[in-house]
Symmetry: C2
Subunit: 125 residues, 2 copies
DNA sequence: TTATAAACTGATAATTGTTATCAGTTTTGT
DNA sequence: ACAAAACTGATAACAATTATCAGTTTATAA
């Protein structure tokens, strides 16, 4: 993979964002900053970085895919009211890979856990 | 919800299938059986049954959604080689809801776990 | 350095999975 | 048997993503 200025900008935009943005959302931020980076380039580079493990792709939320620069193992919670995505620490499911491999004999390369529910903020209301 | 002959056929097609089919796949089976059920009806009814808990919708695999008539709590493994989807028993992650609720204070309504890797069949080759 | 191949880009057309629409049909409760 | 509600097939519309393509940038090595 070669260096590209656009990829660097896309990664920084992702990393600086507290949220877990979609490709579209990153594209909008870049457009407002007059970066002149096309939507196709955003998709291309997010997917490229995800497939080489530099970032994480979060699928199965609504329709869109979201991206996460936080690559240490963790899970996600999506609020059914506000739509916000929260990180969940991996300690909630200890030895999950080992247990599953033992039980099935399959080789596990990755796994994702997604919770749906209502976050604290939205419960207050 | 009213009774519908098409919905019954769609459910039976789903239940009789060992695999976890997509809407498209069910539609193809029905078409071969000359059922004359339209793709829209397949989508409509799978979604309807999923939202009332009669079946399960599995999202976040590749692009398509898949469906599962097995509604007891369990997880999924998708083989990166053959694409087959396997059921994983819920025992691999005991108390996962309780733990996550305690840790976050969020209310959890549902959760999904998806593993990616290589299944036994494909490892043999 | 410059030449060259490979990897990249923006713009946009194309694709794909899914949903909406709509006129007509079934189902259900009275 | 009748009206209201829920359903249907056909197909247009939609939204997210990917493919295409001519031109540009990057890495390599003579």
């Amino acid at each position: 993979m070669n260096y590209s200025k656009q990829r660097e900008i896309i990664y920084k935009t992702l990393a600086d964002n507290v949220v877990h943005p979609s490709a579209e959302y990153i594209y909008e931020i870049l457009k407002e900053a007059n970066s002149n980076i096309s939507l196709a380039t955003v998709y291309r580079n997010l997917n490229k970085m995800a497939s080489c493990g530099h970032i994480k792709k979060i699928e199965g939320l609504e329709d869109k895919a979201h991206f996460d620069h936080n690559t240490f193992e963790h899970y996600h919670f999506i609020c059914q009211k506000c739509g916000k995505i929260y990180d969940i620490p991996k300690e909630i499911a200890p030895d999950i890979i080992q247990k599953t491999q033992n039980k099935t004999g399959f080789t596990i390369n990755s796994h994702d856990i997604v919770f749906h529910g209502i976050c604290l903020e939205c419960k207050k209301e």
